[in-house]
C-alpha cells in the first residue's frame, strides 16, 4: 500500500551496477523509488522487473535535468532522498593525464560533478520541503577511493570524484540549517560493468558484490532519516 510515510527516492544510473542494486534494495525496503538512465529499453526492463518508476534521461545533458526533476517530483509527489550514482570513467581504457583527451575529461566532469550539482539544485526545493515536513532529507553522492588517493591513470575520474566529495561537504554546510543532509560514500571496488571497463582483468572473486554495497548504503541513508527504511530481511 502506498502511504505518505513511504520514503521517496530518486537514483541516477539505475539500470546497471550499484545503481541497479540500489533500486532493488530500496524498493525491497518499502521505499517508493524512481530511477534515471539513458537507454529507454533498459529503463523499461528495470522498471518492469523492480516495480520502480523509470525515467529516461541523461544527467550530463543540461536540458534533461528539469525534465528528470519534474518527473521524479511529479511521480513521487515529492522527494526525500536523492542518490547521485551515475558516473563516467573518463577515457577508457584508463589513460595517464598526459594521454587523456580533453573531451573525455570534460565528460567525466559534466557527469560526475556538474550533473549532480544541477540535479540537486533542481530538486533542492523538494528536498527542503521534506525536511520541513519532518520526513528527513538526504542527498547521497557516490564517491570513490580515487577521490582521495592519487592513482595513476585515474586522473579524470579521480579528480571529478574529489570535486564531488568537496561539493558534498559545502552543500552540507550550507543546507544543514534547512535540514537537508549531504553525504559522500565510497562503496569500494565492486563487480560492476564500470569496474570491468576500468580494470578488465580483475578477479571478480576479489571484488565486492554491488548488492552488498547497496545494503550498506541503504543503512547509511536510513541512519539519517527519522522514519527508518526497513532493514533488509
Amino acid at each position: 500500500m502506498q502511504t505518505d510515510m513511504q520514503t521517496r527516492v530518486l537514483i541516477t544510473g539505475g539500470t546497471s551496477g550499484l545503481g541497479l542494486a540500489l533500486v532493488k534494495e530500496l524498493t525491497a525496503r518499502g521505499a517508493r523509488v524512481a530511477f534515471v538512465a539513458r537507454t529507454p529499453e533498459r529503463v523499461a526492463a528495470v522498471a518492469r522487473e523492480s516495480g520502480a518508476h523509470g525515467i529516461v534521461g541523461d544527467v550530463a545533458q543540461k536540458h534533461d535535468i528539469h525534465r528528470i526533476a519534474l518527473q521524479a517530483a511529479g511521480l513521487l509527489g515529492g522527494l526525500d532522498v536523492l542518490v547521485n550514482n551515475a558516473s563516467d570513467l573518463g577515457p577508457t581504457p584508463l589513460a595517464m593525464l598526459g594521454d587523456t583527451e580533453c573531451e573525455d575529461f570534460e565528460r567525466a566532469l559534466v557527469t560526475n560533478v556538474l550533473g549532480p550539482f544541477r540535479l540537486t539544485k533542481a530538486l533542492l526545493g523538494s528536498l527542503a520541503a521534506s525536511a520541513r515536513e519532518g520526513r528527513g532529507s538526504v542527498v547521497l553522492n557516490i564517491s570513490s577511493d580515487a577521490a582521495v588517493n592519487a592513482y595513476a591513470r585515474w586522473g579524470a575520474y579521480g579528480s571529478s570524484k574529489a570535486a564531488l566529495a568537496h561539493l558534498t561537504r559545502i552543500w552540507d554546510e550550507e543546507m544543514a540549517a534547512q535540514g537537508v543532509k549531504f553525504l559522500a560514500l565510497d562503496p569500494g571496488d565492486m563487480d560492476t560493468p564500470m569496474h570491468a571497463l576500468a580494470i578488465p582483468d580483475a578477479d571478480p572473486a576479489t571484488l565486492k558484490q554491488p548488492g552488498v554495497a547497496a545494503r550498506e548504503i541503504a543503512d547509511a541513508i536510513a541512519d539519517l532519516l527519522p522514519v527508518a527504511l526497513r532493514r533488509a530481511s
Binding site: 523509470g54 528539469h66 526533476a69 511529479g74 533542492l124 526545493g125 527542503a128 540549517a177
Partner: protein
C-alpha cells in the same frame, strides 16, 4: 507600468513598494525586504513547482494547429494527472497577445488532440469554445514523461523569448502542481532563507496549484481564478497557531498563499493541516482571518490578484500605491518588482482572529466527502475515516487526502 520582459527572477535592480498599516508608502530596493520583517514573523511561501502546461499540437478532426494550456485538475495527487481542465487556442503562439489569439476549431466531446507524444480526448466542452475538460490516454508515467518532453511553460506576449522550466521554478519549487509560477516566490533565495533564520523569522510553506492568470477572453477571465487545490503541512499549521497565540505576524509570499490559508481558516476557524480546494474570491468584502501582510508582484487593476489586495488595504491607499508605482517606474508582470502590503489597522476584526480550529471540524470531515475541501486523516484511507471516526480522533492529526 512597464512590463518586465526578461526572465530574471532576482535582479540587482528589483524594487519593493512598502505600504504600511496606516497607509504610508515608501519605496526601497527589494533586498531591503529582510529589514521590513520582524523577529517572530512567520513567512509562508507557496513551494509549488510549475508544470510545463502549454502543449502544442493538432486537433485531429480538422488537422488544425492548436495550443492547449492545462489550467486545473481536481487534486494534487501525483497519480491523478489524466484529467485536466484546459484552455484551447487556435494557430499561433504566445507572441500574439492572448486577447488576439485565434479561436480553436469547434470542439466537441470525443474529439482527439495530438499533443506531441501525448494523445488527449475531449471529454466535455465547458460552456465556452475555448474551455474543455480533457483526458490523456496512457498511464500516469506516460503523462509525466510526455509533459517533460513536450510541454513548455505557459507564457505571454510581454515576454517574447521562450521560457525554460528553470526560468519559472522558484528556488524553493518542490511538487510540480502550478500552471503558472507562484511568482512572488521569485524574491526568495537560499541566502534570504538563511537571513530569515538568523533574524528569528520563521519560514513555512504551503503547496498551492497556482492557476492561469489570463485566458484572453473577458467572459472566461471572469471565472478566474479557477478552483485551486492546495496542501498545508502540519509544520505550517503549528507555526501559524503558535504565532497567532503570541500575536506575531503571518506574512504571505503571494496571493496563492493568502487564498489557501484563508480558505482553510474560513472552513475550520483556524488554519488546519491537510488538503483542500480554494474556490473563494478574495477582495474588499473579505475579512481576513490569518494573513497580516502580503508580498506580491505588482498587478494591473481589474485582475483577480489586484482585487485580492483590497482585503489588505482600502481602495484609496491602493490608488495612491498605483500612482507611486507608476511615478517610480516599477516593472509589472511575473518577473517585475514587488509590493509589501501590511493589512490596514481598520481591517482587523476581533471576532475572526482565532488561533484554534473549530472543535467540530472533525464532523465536517465525516460529512464532507462530497464537499470541496474535505479533510481526512493523513494515515487512514478515506473509507476508514468514514467508518471509524474513533480511530480518526485517536490518530490525533487530521490531514489530507483527496476523496
Amino acid at each position: 507600468m512597464i512590463a518586465a520582459d526578461k526572465p530574471v527572477q532576482r535582479s540587482a535592480e528589483s524594487r519593493l513598494l512598502h505600504v504600511d498599516a496606516v497607509g504610508r508608502i515608501h519605496s526601497a530596493p527589494r533586498t531591503a525586504l529582510i529589514e521590513l520583517l520582524r523577529p517572530g514573523d512567520v513567512v509562508i511561501a507557496n513551494d509549488a513547482a510549475t508544470l510545463p502546461a502549454s502543449l502544442r499540437g493538432v486537433h485531429l478532426q480538422t488537422g488544425t494547429e492548436v495550443e492547449v494550456r492545462l489550467a486545473a485538475r481536481a487534486a494534487l495527487a501525483p497519480h491523478d494527472v489524466l484529467r485536466f481542465r484546459a484552455i484551447v487556442f487556435g494557430p499561433g503562439d504566445h507572441r500574439t497577445r492572448t486577447e488576439d489569439r485565434a479561436l480553436p476549431p469547434p470542439l466537441a466531446p470525443g474529439q482527439r488532440l495530438q499533443l506531441g507524444p501525448l494523445t488527449a480526448v475531449i471529454e466535455t466542452v465547458l460552456g465556452h469554445p475555448r474551455l474543455i475538460e480533457l483526458r490523456f490516454e496512457g498511464t500516469t508515467a506516460d503523462v509525466w514523461a510526455g509533459l517533460a518532453r513536450h510541454g513548455r511553460p505557459i507564457q505571454y506576449a510581454h515576454l517574447p523569448q521562450p521560457l525554460e522550466l528553470w526560468d519559472v521554478w522558484t528556488p524553493i519549487a518542490a511538487q510540480p502542481v502550478a500552471y503558472e509560477p507562484p511568482s512572488a516566490g521569485f524574491a526568495l533565495d537560499w541566502q534570504l532563507l538563511a537571513a530569515l533564520a538568523a533574524k528569528g523569522v520563521v519560514f513555512a510553506t504551503i503547496t498551492h496549484a497556482a492557476g492561469i492568470s489570463s485566458t484572453g477572453d473577458p467572459q472566461l477571465d471572469r471565472l478566474l481564478p479557477f478552483d485551486e487545490p492546495y496542501h498545508i503541512p502540519l509544520a505550517t499549521e503549528q507555526a501559524l497557531r503558535r504565532a497567532c497565540r503570541e500575536n506575531r505576524r503571518a506574512v504571505a509570499i503571494g496571493t496563492t498563499v493568502v487564498r489557501a490559508l484563508e480558505h482553510s481558516a474560513a472552513r475550520f476557524g483556524a488554519v488546519v493541516a491537510g488538503d483542500g480546494v480554494a474556490h473563494q474570491r478574495i477582495g474588499a468584502h473579505t475579512q481576513l482571518r490569518v494573513v497580516d501582510t502580503i508580498l506580491s508582484g505588482t498587478h494591473e487593476p481589474g485582475t483577480s490578484h489586484y482585487d485580492l489586495l483590497h482585503a489588505f488595504a482600502g481602495a484609496r491607499v491602493l490608488r495612491r500605491a498605483d500612482r507611486a508605482l507608476d511615478a517610480a517606474g516599477f516593472r509589472t508582470h511575473e518577473f517585475g518588482d514587488s509590493v509589501l502590503i501590511e493589512r490596514a489597522s481598520e481591517r482587523y476584526s476581533s471576532e475572526t482572529r482565532r488561533c484554534e480550529a473549530d472543535a467540530n471540524f472533525r464532523a465536517n470531515a465525516r460529512t464532507g466527502r462530497a464537499v470541496r475541501g474535505a479533510y481526512t486523516s493523513r494515515f487512514l484511507r478515506p473509507a476508514h475515516v468514514v467508518q471509524e471516526p474513533g480511530r480518526l480522533s485517536s490518530a490525533g492529526r487530521l490531514a489530507g487526502c483527496c476523496c
